[in-house]
């Protein structure tokens, strides 16, 4: 930048005739101070929306440590706070439980492509069970309508709008595959997502920073981001919630299918399975040799999606003979 030669030595050092002007209240300094004050005021004004947002996040929330580092007492406090916040924000009384994995259980899911009719009741049940935002009709399940003669997902379509089943098509619901080698877990910079002992990949909604790297890494489009605060009418809220699954998610964090761990860890079936009218879905403990899921894997021709990527899914597809 060039300098005003009349006032300074031309070096831009602010000196006058080589000697710095030490007077604190010369015209230049006063103008500078006025400019700086104006700048700070404008900055405060520009940042104002942040203060409105701050009202919705508490100091306790800010300081909360990672789920896996919380002591039992701390977890109780956190859960009490979350229940209170749900009451305040949504007007609903909910119970949040901390369901832990059971010993000797590894969950697996299988889906019979021969009898799935593409009715998408599974997706709808998921939407309600997991307290998804109503406006976006979000769901962890996407149902692809596939052309017969191809397993290529590029020939699939999720936006079909006609009576089902269509005679020339078959249907392939896709949700989180609960991989044994999950790319989403590898890429997370803050360990906000991890694989539990029963094979379910979970997210700590209070630790996720919302960078969406996991969403970029997932080959099954199984992760969802809360682009804004979910809106669920009070009377439609599912009050049976769990810390790591279907509690209402905060704005700006990732979420995903948890095989309804708040149900399955209690010995019940996932909501999508219960909603399926054709019995295409099979869920159970892969470690139990007498379970139905093991029977399917042992006797049917089973395959997994995108096997070539090495993600080793716990979600299997099969056809009847």
């Amino acid at each position: 930048m060039s300098d005003n030669k009349k006032e300074s030595c031309g070096s831009g050092c602010g000196c006058h005739n080589g000697a710095p002007d030490e007077s604190l209240f010369n015209r230049r300094n006063v103008l500078k101070a006025a400019g700086a004050t104006l700048g700070v005021a404008a900055f405060a004004k520009a940042m104002a929306p942040i203060t409105e947002w701050k009202e919705t996040t508490s100091v306790d929330e800010f300081l909360q440590t990672h789920y896996r580092e919380l002591s039992n007492d701390q977890l109780d406090e956190v859960i009490a706070r979350l229940e209170e916040e749900t009451k305040k924000d949504y007007g609903a009384d909910v119970t949040i439980t901390d369901h832990r994995p059971q010993m000797g259980v590894k969950f697996g899911y299988a889906l019979n492509l021969s009898i799935c009719i593409g009715c998408r009741r599974c997706a709808e049940a998921c939407h309600h069970e997991n307290n998804h935002d109503r406006a976006t009709s979000n769901s962890y399940i996407r149902v692809l309508e596939m052309t017969k003669g191809s397993m290529d997902m590029e020939k699939g379509n999720v936006h079909y709008d006609h009576p089902v089943p269509h005679p020339d098509k078959f249907y392939m619901p896709v949700q989180c595959q609960q991989c044994d080698n999950p790319p989403c877990v590898d890429v997370c910079p803050v360990e906000a997502t991890w694989k539990e002992e029963d094979g379910i990949v979970v997210v700590d909604y209070n630790w996720c920073i919302g960078c969406r790297y996991c969403e970029a890494a997932c080959p099954y489009h199984a992760r969802r981001f809360n682009w804004k605060k979910p809106v669920v009418p009070k009377n439609e809220i599912n009050p049976n919630q769990s810390y790591l699954s279907n509690r209402i998610r905060p704005q700006g964090v990732m979420e995903k299918c948890t095989f309804c761990l708040h149900r399955t860890r209690e010995g019940r079936m996932p909501a999508c399975l219960e909603a399926c009218p054709t019995g295409a879905r099979v869920f159970g403990n892969l470690l139990d040799p007498h379970s139905e899921i093991r029977k399917v894997i042992d006797t049917k021709r089973v395959f997994v999606l995108k096997e070539e990527l090495g993600t080793r899914p716990s979600f299997f597809y099969f056809f009847d003979e």
């Binding site: 930048m1 060039s2 602010g14 520009a46 699939g156 910079p189």
Partner: protein, 425 residues
């Protein structure tokens, strides 16, 4: 860094008390240099501040209302912010193309101007960090990504590697520039032991920042468009075109606006580098396109969409063709013999390269990686007004930082402020 004819005392040793007072004087001088200048300088800073404030406000709204105000979706989960981030990492790395000639090849002219490139690295990394922060859904939880304080998923997550290399590069350059300027201010000859090892480390480090950033994308098996071993080399070559292009223009502005002598050699060397790197970049682009289109299949889908559109969707087409044409034209212009004597041609080439690579690393690389989605849904992305405002704000903030750094560094570096010891005598 210091020419041999610099004012030197015979390796003076100072105690901590000396540094405590003289460093304060150094900071005071820096503050004065940074806040005084011509009306043109004030006008420039005023305009940049206004743009930065508009960006700040847009970001504040985004934090309050959620990232639904951006055009990103679950399908295209990274957009303009990460696109800019990717490009600017290259800009930061590009500065190394001045450091290598200066320190490895002992290029005298480059020695006198290398600090311009190092300061650009500082300003660029500041912008990179800002672009990452504005892309976070929960900026209030930024501390979770700090080592020791939060939970640092190292060495598995490439993003934690990126945190390390970017901040490391920032610290390296702050140290090198800060040390050299302080020594200059004292009127002493810098001690080689205190900066030369860091300079050599910074050369390797510059390559690492862009390599790690490429690994962020090419490590994802589920994204065929990114999943190519050529990604990191392409990142590096394109950075080594765009970085020098920016610096060539800056050197010319400095030549006009200040008393700093910019030797023709600096510009000639940078042009020589650009001539080679732009051609390598084109060769790599052609190789990439050949494997995509000759083979076909699912891997070619995103590239086909990018260049020709698909299913009636073609939002990226104007971007990529602008970029391709800009880079090809720039490559031809750069082949003009003695181009360093034809500044107009050179300036046009530099601007074309800069814009071309910015698009190539952004709308031409990050966005098509998401289209079609992994379940092959076709969702397009066109940045929202908020995203443009925030991005412009960060660019303005980066230019503010760069202007101030130059404003402080150039007078000290050219000895216009008078050495401290000289004054005291």
């Amino acid at each position: 860094m210091t020419p041999p004819d610099a004012t030197t005392a015979d390796a003076p040793h100072h105690d901590a008390r000396f540094h405590a007072t003289s460093y304060l004087k150094f900071l005071r001088l820096a503050f004065r240099l940074a806040t005084e200048g011509s009306w043109l300088f004030y006008a420039w800073m005023f305009v940049l501040t206004c743009i930065a404030l508009v960006g700040t406000h847009a970001w504040a709204v985004q934090v309050r209302d959620g990232m639904a105000v951006t055009a990103m979706t679950d399908h295209v989960s990274w957009g303009l912010y990460i696109a800019n981030f990717t490009f600017i990492v290259g800009l930061a790395a590009g500065g190394v193309m001045m450091v290598i000639p200066a320190y490895i090849y002992h290029d005298r002219d480059m020695h006198d101007t290398v600090i311009i490139g190092e300061l650009l690295a500082i300003a660029s990394i500041v912008m990179c960090l800002l672009f990452v922060v504005v892309d976070l859904g929960r900026p209030d939880r930024f501390w979770h990504i700090l080592p020791f304080v939060g939970k640092f998923n190292w060495p598995i997550s490439m993003l934690t590697w990126d945190v390390i290399v970017l901040n490391g590069y920032l610290l390296l350059n702050l140290h090198i520039c800060g040390y050299l300027l302080y020594k200059r201010f004292l009127g002493e000859k810098p001690d080689k032991r205190w900066y030369v090892p860091f300079v050599f480390l910074s050369i390797a480090w510059a390559i690492s920042i862009h390599t790690v950033t490429a690994f962020l994308y090419c490590g994802l098996g589920g994204r065929p468009f990114w999943n190519t071993a050529l990604l990191a080399p392409r990142f590096l070559t394109s950075a080594f075109v765009a970085g020098p292009a920016f610096i060539v223009v800056v050197l010319q502005i400095i030549r006009r606006m200040t008393k700093m002598k910019i030797g023709e050699g600096s510009i000639r060397t940078l042009v020589g580098i650009m001539r080679i790197t732009i051609l390598i970049n084109l060769v790599m682009l052609i190789s990439e396109l050949f494997t995509e289109f000759y083979t076909g299949g699912s891997h070619a889908t995103a590239a086909h969409y990018l260049y020709f559109g698909e299913h009636g969707l073609n939002a990226l087409q104007p971007w990529i063709w602008t970029s391709t044409i800009a880079i090809v034209v720039a490559a031809v212009l750069l082949m003009r013999p003695k181009i360093h004597l034809h500044m107009k041609t050179l300036d046009v080439a530099c601007v074309l390269v800069f814009v071309g690579i910015w698009i190539e690393k952004g709308m031409g690389l990050i966005i098509p990686g998401f289209i079609p989605s992994t379940l092959h849904e076709w969702v397009e992305y066109i940045p929202s007004a908020i995203e443009w405002k925030v991005s412009a704000g960060i660019w303005a903030a980066g230019l503010i930082v760069y202007t101030l750094l130059l404003k402080v560094a150039i007078p000290i570096f050219t000895g216009q402020t008078g050495a401290l010891q000289g004054k005291n005598k």
